[in-house]
């Protein structure tokens, strides 16, 4: 599996996610600077990593979403290629309008950095084949603007299309307000586009990919993607 990790000025989870896909599924990784307009030939998966692209100036992800490489990322996604945006990467995907919605500051008024329980809503996406729907996983979260927002009509339509893939939940898998760390509408932690090939995710699977990190729940995501690519799911 060939992975392109896009690096923006201010990205800081790029090396972590590259390491995670290398050690868990033996992926070959190429780091791609944002100023390039083209993705490496043969790319199977594009990752927009976490961090503080462009210093979070103006709005989180706003400037990164308009950088040169995003033209290539959009072309790749529209031909069915897999794109995964983690944390700031999810914010970039919404600002690039590859996913609907926007992010607001956490309702707690604080930066939140801790492990978090999530309920897997779908096990039929390329990113979640190895999970079971209803399963609870533990990924760390680390963000200040994680409150997912979309107006009610659009949110209802998005739910009807089953685009939500992960929700903040209790360790027992109940989706409650108490289990919601940031106030995200409908406890949304991760969602896909209508085609199912673009996933945005606020929590960090790359920080839960090896036993030494305290959780290996994230490794299943890399295994899912690898299995899907091997199965000929590639664009």
């Amino acid at each position: 599996m060939k992975v392109a990790v896009v690096v923006f000025p201010g990205s800081n989870c790029d090396a972590d996610v590259a390491h995670a896909v290398e050690v868990t599924v033996g992926a070959s990784v190429e780091m791609v600077w944002h100023a390039s307009e083209f993705l490496p030939a043969g790319t199977d998966l594009v990752i927009l990593p976490g961090g503080f692209s462009y210093g979070d100036y103006l709005r989180c992800g706003a400037m990164a979403a308009r950088s040169s490489i995003m033209k290539g990322v959009k072309r790749f996604a529209s031909s069915g290629g897999l794109v995964l945006g983690i944390c700031n990467g999810f914010q970039i995907l919404t600002e690039a309008k590859m996913l609907r919605g926007a992010f607001l500051p956490n309702r707690t008024l604080s930066f939140i950095c801790r492990p978090c329980a999530l309920r897997v809503e779908r096990d039929d996406t390329p990113f979640t084949l190895r999970y079971k729907a209803g399963q609870v996983v533990r990924f760390p979260i680390a963000h200040h603007e994680g409150l997912y927002y979309l107006d009610k009509d659009e949110l209802d339509a998005m739910e009807k299309r089953r685009q939500v893939v992960f929700r903040y939940a209790t360790p027992a898998g109940e989706v409650t307000d108490e289990a919601n760390p940031n106030g995200a509408l409908n406890n949304i932690a991760g969602m896909v586009n209508e085609g199912g090939n673009v996933l945005g995710l606020i929590p960090h699977p790359e920080r839960a990919s090896e036993p030494v990190l305290g959780s290996v729940d994230g490794a299943l995501m890399w295994q899912s993607i690898s299995e899907w690519i091997k199965g000929g799911g590639a664009h």
Binding site: L58, R59, A62, M63, R66, E95, R100, G101, A102, L104, P105, N106, R107, L109, L147, Y149, L150, D151, G183
Partner: protein, 85 residues
């Protein structure tokens, strides 16, 4: 001609303004019970070259939709005037 576009961006009504709500509480704690609402926005002052004022406004509006404003959550007001006025 050189123009100055003054742009005020704020969250739409109904979109949670965490900063505004926090400042409102603080003002209440200080005894300003008359305060009904606080909304926090951002102010951008853009200096640009344009043929005339309406062209400057069109350019500034294009910048708003291309980058400066996220219309899912934000609204804006824009004042364009010749620089130095």
């Amino acid at each position: 001609m050189r123009y100055r576009a003054s742009l005020l961006i704020y969250l739409k009504e109904g979109v949670l303004d965490t900063q505004g709500r926090t400042i409102l509480r603080s003002l209440h704690d200080l005894g300003y019970g008359e305060v009904q609402d606080v909304r926090v926005g951002k102010y951008l002052r853009i200096t640009l070259e344009a043929a005339d004022e309406s062209a400057a406004r069109r350019q500034a509006e294009a910048m708003c939709s291309d980058l400066l404003v996220n219309d899912l959550i934000e609204e804006y007001s824009l004042v364009v005037e010749e620089e130095g006025k």
